[in-house]
């Protein structure tokens, strides 16, 4: 009964956001020509893994991939959530890749979600799990997500290429979000951070901290960077180290920057035996401190990494006006804005604020409610 009409899309770009929005808006999608002209056509392992994850947390969802993997049909089901779920994210992308959509989906599912994700906890491509703890979760709280039940626990760390990390994410359910008016960036009042290292000497961490502090000290005395050295089974399968910094402002904004250094993956790094030199920790610390300062300089209530998430959350709000300020609009953010328009029918008014070089966005939320939640 009932012919399903699929929304047709092309290419593998923004697959994650497309799947996320399709699930939230309950729109079946069909994506064609996924890397049709590539050397390795079709979906990549992490994308397949993401689809499996979606199947795991939802019910009655349908994923059809053709033989070559260049065509995908996805009919979203009802988000179920649930406890004691386990998902192996694989090693082609870090856990951060999966966390971003998962956090939003968890909010709109039937039961509170708690899931154990296994894989790489931090790499240079995706935001690392520490950033999630320090920045993304407070961002959700701005939208009225209760803080109890919202938690990310890092059980063990894993660096690329072999991963072996494990985090435990729990997300509460909500009925609907709350619209925000969030244009006050405030001033940076403290900088916090975590360094981490797996299967390397903890000296690395101290060096990174020292380097980063060297830059911050001139601006702010309240800088505290913690170390998180893991050893043994908690350290995963490969060596690596990294740092995640977050600047908290007087108005409750969190601006983060993170990076991780490790050996490259086998597939994109050539032979395993000729290992290239890793970036020395001093440089890492200095670089990441500079990145953070750059983020602060850009302005906006969130950093560049969280732009997309912020837009999405605004679009999911009830039909009230949300007003936010971000630094520069990034390609990723723009793509998300377009996808939001396509899937949720929400358009943003985008106005630059020339005096500060920031952009102010305004939208009326789509009024999404948690439909899968059981009414008592």
């Amino acid at each position: 009964m009932g012919k399903v009409s699929y929304k047709k899309l092309r290419g593998s770009q923004n697959l994650r956001q497309r799947l996320l929005l399709a699930t939230l808006s309950a729109t079946p999608i069909q994506i064609e020509d996924i890397r049709a002209n590539d050397m390795l056509p079709g979906l990549l392992p992490h994308e397949v893994s993401l689809l499996r994850l979606l199947e795991k947390i939802s019910d009655d969802c349908l994923v059809k991939i053709n033989e070559t993997g260049t065509k995908l049909k996805y009919k979203p089901g009802i988000l179920m959530g649930g406890r004691h779920l386990v998902h192996d994210c694989g090693v082609s992308r870090a856990i951060g890749y999966f966390l971003e959509p998962l956090i939003v989906l968890g909010l709109f599912s039937k039961k509170p979600l708690s899931i154990r994700l296994k894989g790489i906890t931090s790499d240079s491509k995706d935001p690392c799990v520490d950033t999630f703890r320090s920045t993304t979760l407070p961002l959700l709280k701005q939208f009225g997500v209760p803080s109890e039940g919202l938690e990310l626990k890092i059980e063990s760390r894993g660096s690329p290429p072999h991963g072996g990390g494990e985090v435990l994410l729990s997300v509460p359910i909500i009925q609907s979000l709350m619209a925000v008016t969030w244009i006050d960036e405030g001033m940076v009042k403290r900088i916090r951070g975590v360094t981490f290292s797996t299967r390397v000497s903890h000296q690395f961490e101290d060096t990174m901290i020292h380097a980063a502090r060297g830059i911050f000290n001139r601006l702010l005395p309240d800088v505290r960077i913690f170390t998180d050295h893991r050893a043994g089974p908690q350290a995963g399968n490969s060596p690596g180290y990294g740092i995640s910094l977050v600047a908290e402002t007087t108005s409750g904004c969190f601006i983060s920057a993170d990076t991780a250094v490790s050996y490259a993956r086998v597939d994109d790094g050539g032979m395993e035996d000729e290992r290239q030199e890793l970036m020395p920790p001093e440089d890492v610390g200095e670089q990441i401190a500079s990145v953070l300062l750059q983020e602060i300089e850009q302005g906006g209530v969130v950093d560049t990494t969280h732009q997309g998430l912020l837009f999405l959350l605004c679009a999911l709000c009830p039909q009230d006006v949300s007003k936010i300020r971000v630094g520069k609009l990034l390609p990723h953010g723009i793509e998300i804005l377009r996808l939001i328009r396509d899937f949720l029918g929400v358009k943003f008014v985008i106005k630059p604020d020339p005096s500060t070089g920031t952009v102010i966005l305004k939208c009326v939320g789509s009024g999404l409610k948690n439909l899968s939640r059981k009414s008592s």
Binding site: L15, A26, D60, D320, V321, I350
Partner: protein, 1201 residues
């Protein structure tokens, strides 16, 4: 002084207490309370506490969670549904109400009738159709339901059915109206009936629900006074928002047109049609991509939505005491009131006699509003037409010359005349679209260009279409003009011009240049007629072409639209369907000459340089252009972003931006009225409009402070319980009142509620402020069409039956579909059979459900949740209990009400609402199970193991049930082990076949018997059928009953099939043979070994007496004597005992007799007394009757005399 006071006192007459009557007592009581104050107070502190807490609780219970109300503009007319069984006077009531409001006589009531009922209020009357489908739909859009009840007959089923439907779909306001009260001749009976009906009505709704009495007809109309009262009640009625409706846009269609190209219809009469639906938007804002559901038809994409000028606007806001007669507007195109007369295939435009004066000022009733400043082309044209002194014919003769200069090839005089006639009329008629176009154009001047293009193209198309018409369509006139009773009546052929416009619309852009030409052409044509408009016209033309040239230049300075363009692209494509179409096109051109990867790069604009398969990554860190933050001066550049920096500068940073925003607001919203000041100074007739938020901006330049002020005002609102908001729903007001009460009671406890309200108020004001500073175009894009706008919805490919069977008496409801509501899936609802429905419902029997906007037939499975969380299927719904119903269909959000109906026929006498339900969740995973009992018999028994056959049919099945618990009837528990192997005993049959399959080896806790029956109790899942069938009642004649899937019972009845009977399930008389047990035999050897205690002692009686018994006893004489004596003694004692027993019995008998006698005596006395009293009463009554009769006779005699 004392003297004076004394005199003063004397002048007063002291209050005299009542000496008689019921109020005598009450007064006394009160006085008593006053005298003894202590007695009035509570003695027990515990009791006092209890009372207090109770009162607090009661107050708390009254509070509602405040809901934010997001309708900012002018509210749409409130829908008053007049419902009642047939022949109860619905139409007459509407007619009387319309007459009361507008002083116009309404011929017949068809479709919604919009009426301006007050300065701030419009009402739309709808007559509810008499079938259940119509009732369901009407319940979904009613803001107020007038339930008409035939007083002489009493309540009818329809009323209660409708009440139930209303209750489920949100329970709007209800008023009862009793009619036909003139049929009562007896006043007393009338009074009693009224009372009875009122109380019955109250039990159904709430105590004190308003029930109106229309006492009778005068000249075929209800009494004026009563109608007036009813109208008053309607116009002060307050409405509260209903949750489903506030979250879904909907339109009650008051005008319906078929705009299919006539050629297509001519070729194929049954082709899919394009229709337009008109109506006020209600509920919430409608965005452009929204899908809609037309009740009784199906789901459709909106092919076009246009906001039209309000055909029945509120009177202007200028201060006036009352409504002047002229402004009492009404609009009812379907029933022929107002400007348009609705016909099946044509629309008559109707201009009332006294309006056809062509006044210089007012041409409102032609459905257009003058822009104010400068006249439009069309308007000027009309004016010039109006100002003429000559009669129409003369004028036409003259004016035809100008046309001839253009169309020289037509020469005949007759043609000449006719054609001129058409032309002129057409022009005057064409004003409407033209003016619309002009208006939008004027707006466009300051708006973004993306929609400019559409709009202009549309306008061009309009003009083009017209000029095209004037050129070509001579043989096919668009309007037929009749002079009818001195009144101009123009019959416009159905939808011709509109299609033209639409056709042009669809291929916009491609013929822009032609359009411009055409336009200038037509303009010049106008200018020939009225020279003075020449310059203006040309200006217009210039404008149009100008924007095309300077399109780019004009958009550049506007940074904001620029950024939006960058993100969303130039012409906003419709969100769905379009996707990546543009990139595809580009690719096809370049594919040959480009590298694969680069093809896409070029096609995207702006930021978007990624290719389609770009890797996705939310992190965007550019390490390459990192500044050297170690440098002192670079570091200092962001010093102010840190708390160590300059705080004032940082504050400025945030402030500056807000200031600019405020500036923006000022520039946009300069014309807002300042209402705040008046209202602040304590007048309670404040009028809060959407602009209210924007006051005093000139003085305050900060958004923050303004918001704070608004918050203060919200507090103020909360504290003063006056009816503050005329526009706003009573809901809030009630809350406010409650709250105010609360304030006086316990100020500290209402804090939370206060805070909630304040927050909501702030949010609302903020929304209004933010939305108001956008320009119209963007606002429309962002927010969608506002509620209260009059919309024209265009739908394509609607089945022709909708047009064919369209009936204006059956209102069309168009409801917007929310996110994810068009998907189908499983839903679980908590369902209860209606207690008036006679039968229980059967699982998998089709029922018709009404959920949200939809009505569809589906086959639910009923279940109940067991204590362990299992959902057990029920064959039938419980008699008086809720159960769960799981069914498949289009999803509706949780907490949506559901009405179930099984029979739609009108001829049904019983109650048609079979059940009501509420959606709990979407649940695919809900496993509904039913019990299954597998029965088997042992075929071989070992010690505690047995082989069970007939339980399973194959070894595979056995494998599935390994480990399952089994039980015998006698209660011996066991377990299924495995399929029986050959070697254990499952030997092949002697004839050499394979071993029998499906024999299970089970072990038991004890040895079972061959006669035992072995059970396996298990649960099996029940599938919910994937079936739903939307009710297409609007696609068939209204008098036909919709026929969907039939229930099993109906099918059996039709085909005359008996109900299948399973013989095994029948109850048979239980026959139990007496069980014969063999005597227990203990072997001799064992007996010998037993201790004495356990040895069998009662040796069974023998058939033959033992030897000892058989032997004769011969007594001696002495012995004999003794024996005789003993026997005699025994006899004596026995006799004694017997005697004494007899005595006792005798005494008892005597006593009983005595009692009996006494009772009889008493009864006799009682009877006597009763007789006496009866007699007395009779006499009294007789006396009274006699007196009454006398009294009656007296006046009669008087009157006779």
């Amino acid at each position: 002084m004392a003297k004076i006071s004394n005199i003063h006192e004397q002048s007063h007459k002291p209050h005299r207490l009542r000496q008689a009557g019921p109020s005598k007592n009450t007064k006394k009581k009160k006085q008593h309370g006053g005298e003894d104050e202590k007695s009035a107070t509570l003695r027990s502190s515990v009791k006092a506490k209890k009372l207090q807490s109770r009162s607090v609780e009661k107050e708390q219970r009254k509070l509602h969670v405040p809901t934010i109300e997001r309708n900012y503009g002018e509210p749409p007319p409130f829908v008053v549904v007049v419902h009642g069984p047939p022949q109860v006077g619905k139409s007459l009531l509407i007619k009387c109400l319309v007459k009361h409001y507008t002083k116009h006589h309404l011929q017949d009531v068809q479709g919604p009738i919009t009426i301006v009922s007050g300065k701030k209020r419009r009402v739309q009357f709808v007559e509810c159709p008499n079938d259940i489908n119509g009732m369901i739909d009407a319940a979904k859009f009613a803001d107020l339901a007038l339930l008409l009840i035939d007083g002489s007959y009493g309540f009818e089923m329809e009323t209660f059915e409708f009440l139930n439907i209303l209750q489920v779909h949100g329970f709007p306001k209800i008023m009862g109206v009793l009619t036909h009260l003139d049929k009562f001749k007896d006043v007393k009976k009338l009074k009693k009936t009224k009372q009875r009906l009122k109380h019955r009505f109250w039990t159904e709704i709430y105590d004190g629900a308003k029930l109106f009495y229309l006492s009778g007809l005068i000249n075929g109309k209800y009494v004026k006074r009563e109608v007036h009262n009813l109208a008053r009640f309607i116009s002060v009625m307050k409405f509260h928002p209903l949750s489903w409706r506030t979250s879904h846009p909907y339109v009650l269609v008051d005008r319906f047109e078929d705009v299919t190209p006539p050629e297509r219809v001519r070729v194929n009469n049954k082709c899919d049609r394009n229709v337009t639906l008109y109506g006020y938007l209600r509920g919430c804002n409608l965005k452009k991509g929204t899908k809609v559901h037309i009740a009784g038809v199906g789901d459709y994409d909106l092919a076009g939505v246009t906001a039209l000028a309000d055909p029945c606007p509120l009177p202007s806001a200028a201060k006036k005491k009352g409504l002047r007669d002229k402004e009492k507007l009404f609009y009812a195109p379907m029933s022929g009131l107002g400007d348009l007369v609705y016909d099946k295939d044509a629309v008559y435009i109707n201009i009332n006699d006294h309006f056809v004066q062509y006044s210089n000022v007012d041409n409102k009733n032609e459905g257009m509003t003058s822009k104010g400043k400068d006249l439009d082309v069309g308007e000027a044209l009309v004016k010039s037409l109006q100002n003429t002194k000559y009669s129409i014919d003369e004028k036409l003769d003259k004016s035809s010359i100008s046309y001839f200069s253009r169309n020289a090839n037509i020469s005949s005089e007759a043609q000449n005349d006719a054609q001129g006639n058409h032309e002129a009329l057409e022009q005057s008629h064409s004003l409407e679209p033209n003016i619309l176009g002009e208006e939008t154009d004027a707006e466009d001047l300051d708006s973004s260009e993306s929609s400019d293009q559409d709009e202009a193209a549309q306008k061009d198309a309009v003009v083009n279409g017209e000029s095209g018409n004037s050129d070509e369509e001579y043989g096919n006139p668009k309007e037929q003009v009749e002079f009818h009773e001195g009144r101009l009546r123009r019959k416009a052929m159905f939808g011709n011009d509109i299609d033209d416009k639409d056709l042009k619309d669809s291929d916009e852009g491609s013929e822009d240049d032609d359009d411009v030409d055409d336009q200038s052409f037509s303009d010049s044509e106008f200018s020939e007629e009225n020279g003075d408009d020449l310059e203006r016209n040309e200006e217009d033309v210039g404008n149009v072409s100008k924007w095309k040239e300077s399109l780019v230049e004009r958009t550049i300075p506007k940074q904001n639209t620029n950024l939006m363009q960058l993100v969303y692209g130039k012409s906003a494509p419709s969100p769905i369907n379009e996707g990546q179409a543009d990139s595809e096109d580009d690719e096809s051109d370049d594919e040959f000459f480009k590298l694969k990867g680069e093809g896409n790069k070029k096609s995207r604009e702006g930021f978007d340089v990624e290719n389609v398969d770009a890797d996705e990554c939310s992190k965007f860190t550019n390490y390459s252009d990192l500044k050297k933050w170690i440098n002192e001066e670079i570091c200092e550049s962001i010093r102010d972003r840190f708390v160590t920096g300059d705080w004032s500068k940082a504050a400025q940073r945030n402030q500056l931006s807000t200031a600019t925003v405020v500036d923006d607001e000022d520039s946009v919203s300069g014309d807002f009225e300042d209402l705040e000041t008046g209202e602040k100074h304590g007048s309670h007739q404040r009028e809060e409009s959407g602009n209210g938020a924007m006051q005093e901006e000139d003085e305050l330049e900060e958004g923050q402070r303004r918001l704070k002020k608004l918050a203060l005002r919200a507090k103020f609102d909360a504290q003063y319980p006056f009816p503050v908001k005329l526009f706003h729903y009573s809901y809030e007001e009630v809350d406010e009142k409650n709250e105010a009460k609360f304030h006086r009671g316990q100020a500290n406890e209402s804090g939370y509620f206060d805070k909630l309200k304040e927050e909501i108020e702030i949010r609302k004001q903020r929304n209004i402020a933010e939305l108001n500073d956008l320009d119209e175009e963007i606002r429309l894009e962002i927010e969608g069409f506002q509620t209260g706008t009059y919309l024209r919805l265009e739908l394509h490919d609607v089945p022709f039956e909708m047009v064919e069977h369209f009936d204006p008496c059956d209102p069309i409801l168009v409801g917007g579909i929310g996110l994810g509501e068009e998907n189908v899936g499983y839903m679980q609802a908590r369902l209860k059979r209606h207690r008036w429905h006679r039968k229980v419902l059967k699982t998998k029997d089709p029922v018709i459900l009404s959920i949200g906007w939809r009505r569809y037939q589906t086959t639910p499975i009923y279940a109940i949740e067991d204590r362990n969380g299992r959902h057990r299927m029920l064959k039938y719904t419980p008699e008086h209990m809720h159960c769960l119903a799981t069914f498949w269909g289009p999803l509706a959000p949780p907490n949506t009400g559901v009405v179930a109906v099984q029979n739609l026929a009108n001829n049904q006498a019983s109650f048609r609402v079979t059940a009501t339900a509420v959606v709990l969740e979407f649940n695919h995973a809900a496993k509904i199970v039913k019990k299954v009992k597998l029965v088997g018999h042992p075929c071989k028994i070992f010690k505690k193991t047995a082989l069970i056959m007939n339980m399973f049919t194959s070894d595979l099945e056995v494998a599935r049930f390994e480990g399952a618990a089994v039980r015998t009837v006698s209660g011996i528990r066991g377990q299924v082990k495995k399929a029986a192997k050959e070697e254990i005993g499952n030997h092949p049959t002697k004839k050499g076949g394979a071993p029998r399959e499906g024999i299970a080896r089970c072990t038991f806790e004890d040895r079972i018997l061959m006669s035992d029956i072995v059970f396996l109790r298990a649960w099996t899942q029940v599938e919910v059928p994937n079936f739903y069938n939307p009710l297409t009642t609007a696609l068939q004649p209204r008098n036909k009953t919709w026929q969907g899937m039939k229930t099993m019972a109906e099918l059996r009845r039709e085909h005359n099939l008996p109900i299948p009977v399973n013989k095994d399930s029948l109850y048979k008389p239980i026959e139990r043979k007496p069980k014969k047990f063999n005597p227990l035999v203990i072997p001799k050897s064992l007996q010998a070994a037993l201790p004495f205690e356990s040895k069998p002692k009662n040796i069974p009686s023998r058939r033959r007496p033992t030897l000892e018994r058989r032997r004769a006893v011969v007594m001696e004489s002495d012995e004999r004597r003794v024996h005789a004596l003993v026997q005699q003694l025994r006899l004596i004692t026995n006799d004694k005992v017997l005697n004494s027993l007899k005595n006792v019995a005798l005494q008892m008998k005597k006593r009983k007799l005595k009692k009996e006698q006494e009772r009889k005596k008493l009864e006799a006395e009682k009877a006597k007394d009763e007789e006496l009293s009866k007699k007395r009463k009779r006499e009294i009554r007789r006396e009274r009757y006699r007196v009454q009769e006398k009294l009656k006779k007296k006046p009669r005699r008087n009157s006779d005399a």
